[in-house]
Amino acid sequence: MLTRRAALAALLPVPAVAQGRTVTDMAGRRVALPARIGRVVTLGSLPVLNSFVYAMGEGATIVNGLADFARPHWKFQGVFAPQLAAAPPMQLPTREPNVEAILLARPDVVLTMHRESVELLAKRGIAVVFLAWRRPEEVKACMAVLGEVFANPARAAAYTDYFDRTIARVARAVAGAPRPRVLYLQPDTLTQPRLIAEWWIPAAGGASVTDDGRSSESRSFTLEQVVLWDPDILIVTDPRDVAFVQRHTVLARLRAARAGRVLVVPVGAHTWSNRTAEQPLTVLWAASVFHPERMRGIDLAAETAAFYRDIFGHALSDAQVAEILSGTM
């Protein structure tokens, strides 16, 4: 199999590398790139990586499609990059790269957050840029690297500027307000599935009940613990979870459920509660539901439309903005 792949690789034209253009990725590797990036493959969590590419205004360069399961979840991926609908997926169900498909796609660069994929593809002469997003604000570092990859550092700087301004604006608006106790919950498995929520919940003026300084991505807990927390607000990622909570013998009687504060996270390029370039909007949205009185002056729909127009370079209709904010998958 290996020799067949090697033979296949030898037959394919190698992308032309412009003289002297190298980019240092987040593993400290120097990667040689062509002058103009026209074909990009993203590997790993596609909604996350693609959101970076959209924020660079380069959605049209992505040549790999979403996995079948992901298409209905993130249909706005198809809005921001319509070619994805017909593009083949380039990773296996195990999330390993499909090397033959990637070689055939002749990408100018592969973007990934998986170390193993870096080695696997670099060995075969493919330019791979490694991105890392462990600490919350590393999204800005990712964008800075992409600014170099797409030779457009000004656009990356504009994103970083928007990010900092938005987070600071929200911090000013909610300063001093009592923090509601928030549980970000996957109700059927009783887990808090995303570490990043321990960043955006406090950034929006909330207090996450699951924040115990852990480093693992998800955290599970007992039903009794949920009763003990009895949070003011429950955040879920799927409208069906709201129905699940309302039917549940115990969850339905929590303070949040009785007050109608079981909220569905919006979904755009990615679910806003996950790592995504849309994270400034996550903080804006969360602050507007945690502190409606403090955020009265902010029109969330207008802010959302402006983000996708100015950062992603994509004008959305009012109906599309409403759909994103509803969190419907």
Binding site: F69, P93, D188, S220, D230
Partner: protein
């Protein structure tokens, strides 16, 4: 016979008292601090024997969080241990567990399929139950088409059917949506009682109780069977009928228990061993003793799961972590032949 049973009967009574004590203590386990007197008064209040002086949350924790889990742990532990004891008698092999005929794998596939289809909790339980029965049906059919009488063939058929359904489970995991369905399937397969509601509890209680009564009614015939088929026939036991009824009853129990709590291993293998070590091989005593110790063991494990801080360790992991070394210990201490 009565004289030889007097000591086992004493042990049975002592175990019953022990499990009762554990049952009462279990209501005090959990992160929500509720004083014992309040727990008692919550129950008395249900009978209008006490004034309500506590928050709704306290009542919810006692009646809707702790009570269903405690009841489910007792029920599932008892069912798995009884089914294990029955299967071990049937196959005259102490290394047989309730999953031997493929019921766990079948139930696992049923649940995974139900989750994949987006069915609600009770329907997932129903699918697990049904596919558990289908798997055993397949095993029995396969075994009979090779050799109508050899029990060993049945065990091999069980291996084949288990492997087949495990492959189907893997397939559902591959096609499942990794965002929501895959975690649900994984948690289901790890086993746990968090999903228990009064309705799912009742759904499992009916078949388990019915099958338990059948096993109880057949206890002496099953005991005779353990001595060997010819000996049992000489004692007037309809061997074929008893074997079929035994398989049906033990399968019903296991399928109902598994559909309620997912795959919880080692209870059905370990408990009958300990029971025979304590009271000897007589099935008439082994059965109730297995029910008591199985229920008590799983309740103890679930209490550990609930106590282990705010992070819940899935029950199936705990029973394996503790059950496997304990089983090795039991084997090392008793090198006797059981049957």
């Amino acid at each position: 016979m009565n004289a030889s049973l007097s000591s086992p009967r004493l042990l049975l009574g002592a175990s019953a008292l022990g499990v009762l004590g554990l049952f009462l203590l279990s209501f005090l386990v959990g992160p929500y601090p509720i004083p014992p007197a309040t727990v008692l008064r919550v129950f008395l209040a249900q009978l209008s024997l006490a004034e309500r002086g506590w928050s709704e949350a306290v009542e919810m924790v006692v009646l809707d969080v702790r009570a269903p889990r405690i009841a489910a742990a007792l029920l599932v532990g008892a069912a798995l241990a009884c089914a294990g004891a029955a299967y071990q008698n049937l196959f005259r092999n102490p290394l047989v567990s309730p999953g031997v005929l493929g019921v766990s794998s079948g139930a696992g596939f049923g649940a995974a399929l139900g989750i994949l289809l987006g069915l609600p909790g009770a329907a997932v339980q129903g699918m697990a139950f049904a596919l558990g029965l289908v798997a055993v049906g397949l095993t029995v059919w396969l075994g009979r088409s090779f050799d109508r009488h050899a029990t060993l063939v049945l065990v091999v058929a069980g291996l084949v059917v288990s492997a087949f359904f495990q492959a189907l489970v893997s397939l559902t995991k591959i096609v499942a949506d990794p965002l929501n369905q895959l975690p649900s399937i994984t948690f289901w397969l790890l086993g746990g009682l968090t999903r228990t509601t009064p309705a799912t509890l009742l759904g499992a209680l009916v078949p388990i109780a019915a099958a338990g009564l059948v096993l109880h009614a057949l206890r002496w015939q099953v005991h005779a069977l353990a001595a060997g088929e010819d000996e049992a026939r000489a004692l007037g036991v309809n061997v074929r009928r008893v074997r079929i009824v035994l398989i049906v009853a033990a399968t019903l129990m296991t399928a109902a228990a598994t559909s309620l709590c997912g795959i919880v291993g080692w209870v059905g293998l370990l408990i009958p061993h300990i029971v025979r070590m304590l009271v000897g091989p007589c099935f008439a005593i082994v059965l109730p003793m297995s029910a008591l110790l199985g229920g008590g063991f799983l309740l103890g494990m679930d209490n550990l799961a609930r106590m282990a801080g705010t992070v819940e360790v899935p029950l199936g992991i705990l029973t394996s972590l503790i059950g496997a070394p304990f089983f090795a210990l039991v084997l090392a201490r008793t090198r006797r032949q059981w049957f």
